[in-house]
């Protein structure tokens, strides 16, 4: 319990520090928002000219994109800095987080929180709600609960990938490898309906790095589309257990990496 209060205060201070640069704070959020609008605009241009993508209309894809962006924002808020861990290790700055009587994952997650990611949470929410309206989706209490679970699961899965890339940098310290950046091409698979990709990719996104559970499978229930690509329909409800298992595995990897770590001493 005492630790919880410590985390709370650390978070408040971090948050206050970020707000010091107020203009920059809003500019960051605005810029992130424009960036994501640009991505959606490109998808609109494609479907406007060529028609649906793998059987998905633009509004449906934008719905996928909105749900993805929201859970990305939630995970990035506390975990984005893990994709940059290689740099922190090289400069020795991460050592600070190992010297406190707190959990080095939780402490780093809370103290370096990424406030601009809130822009993605709200931007994604706006896109999702607007598309839901266009698609005549009726909101029932079950669906709202389902969305909440989907967001928790989605952000856990993405946070886990960020942790995994951070874990790899413990071993590749010498060679420097920017493993954290691998997150970006991988998440691109979430921007489009999974059916657009070849079978091996579909399998990887389902069974290895379960990005398909972030938005594609849960969205099947919300949209009533049931475009399951050969997987059983119940998989649409499997996001949370998948996320918990995957997150635990990645957290374990991070712990292993941490034990393997010797400071560079710089």
């Amino acid at each position: 319990m005492r630790n919880l209060r410590a985390y709370w205060r650390i978070w408040l201070m971090a948050q206050k520090g970020r707000m010091e640069y107020r203009l920059n704070f809003f500019l960051d959020i605005f810029a992130l928002f424009v960036g994501y609008v640009g991505l959606v605009a490109n998808i609109w241009l494609m479907t406007n000219r060529f028609g649906p993508l793998a059987g998905w209309t633009f509004t449906e894809i934008a719905f996928l994109f909105g749900t993805f962006t929201m859970s990305y924002g939630l995970s990035a808020y506390n975990f984005w800095q893990f994709t940059q861990l290689a740099t922190w290790l090289r400069t020795g700055d991460y050592d600070r987080y190992l010297l406190r009587p707190l959990n080095p994952v939780a402490y780093y997650a809370v103290e370096r929180c990424q406030t601009p990611a809130l822009g993605q949470v709200f931007g994604g929410l706006a896109i999702m709600l607007y598309c839901a309206k266009l698609l005549h989706l009726t909101w029932t209490p079950e669906k709202i609960l389902f969305v909440a679970i989907m967001l928790v699961a989605g952000s856990l899965i993405q946070a886990a990938v960020m942790l995994l890339s951070a874990a790899i940098s413990f071993w590749t310290l010498e060679s420097g490898g920017a493993w954290g950046l691998l997150y970006y091409p991988m998440r691109e698979f979430c921007f489009y309906p999974l059916g657009a990709f070849a079978r091996p990719i579909v399998w990887i996104a389902t069974a290895v790095i379960p990005f398909a559970f972030v938005n594609y499978f849960p969205a099947q229930y919300l949209l009533g589309k049931w475009d399951m690509l050969g997987f059983p329909p119940w998989i649409a409800f499997a996001s949370l257990p998948v996320a918990v298992v995957f997150f635990s595995i990645c957290l374990w990897c991070f712990g292993r990496g941490l034990r393997n770590y010797h400071s560079t001493g710089t």
């Binding site: 060529f50 420097g176 091409p185």
Partner: protein, 263 residues
Amino acid sequence: MRPTVWLQFVKIALLARLAYRADIVLSVFRSSLFLLVSLSVWRALYQNPGADQEHVTYSSMATYVAGATLLESFLTSDPSYFLRKIRTGDIAGDLLKPYSLPFALLAQNVGTGLWRAATGGLPVVLVGFFLMSVPLPRPADAVWFLASAALAGMLYFCFVLMISLTAFWTLEMQGFHDLQWAVLAFASGSVVPLWFMPDVLAKVLRALPFQQMGFVPLTLWTGQAGDSGPLLLLGQVLWLIPMVGLAALVWRAAQRRVVIQGG
């Protein structure tokens, strides 16, 4: 600045990248994943009924996408340079040195860009050719592309320089940098070419400088430009003149604005 000094800067930037050679495999893998996503999406789009009537075939589009990866690897720059230097106060030292800072930065960008094109962009084009059956451009088109990409690099440098110089006024700029990236990704036509845009939008974007840093060189790369290569290059040069002038003006104004925040 004397050309030999300038070339020394290019060389130093190239050598500095050697320290990151372990990242080559990783960054090629990363870019190949991006390429795979784009190719999959375009392939799926081309499977729609009626898509075969497009005057640009899927294989041309695949070449376009691979070319965009190559171009992007070359168009690099570090916009946070001024921000870092202003924060630490090192900018004062830079301004004292007996060379023009923008030219030194340009040399650095050329060096980094060449390195990244050789170790990142070109390997991905080959990965595309051997593993994803992306056709290579004809040699003549590739030469036109190189000339156009060099001009695009100059334009891009002026553009980024102006954006990053705003740090002299705002003392902050991450947001501007993200914004610049977003605008370019859309308006340069490097993701969705101007051919596929609605007429009105394509007309507007043709009148703006951004397509000179994406669509124009890539049109040459795919051989879709026909024999209008010289005309396209001329268009780029015509944009370059006012951009260089404007960048020089902003640079002069920025120097007068220097506020040293301390070290």
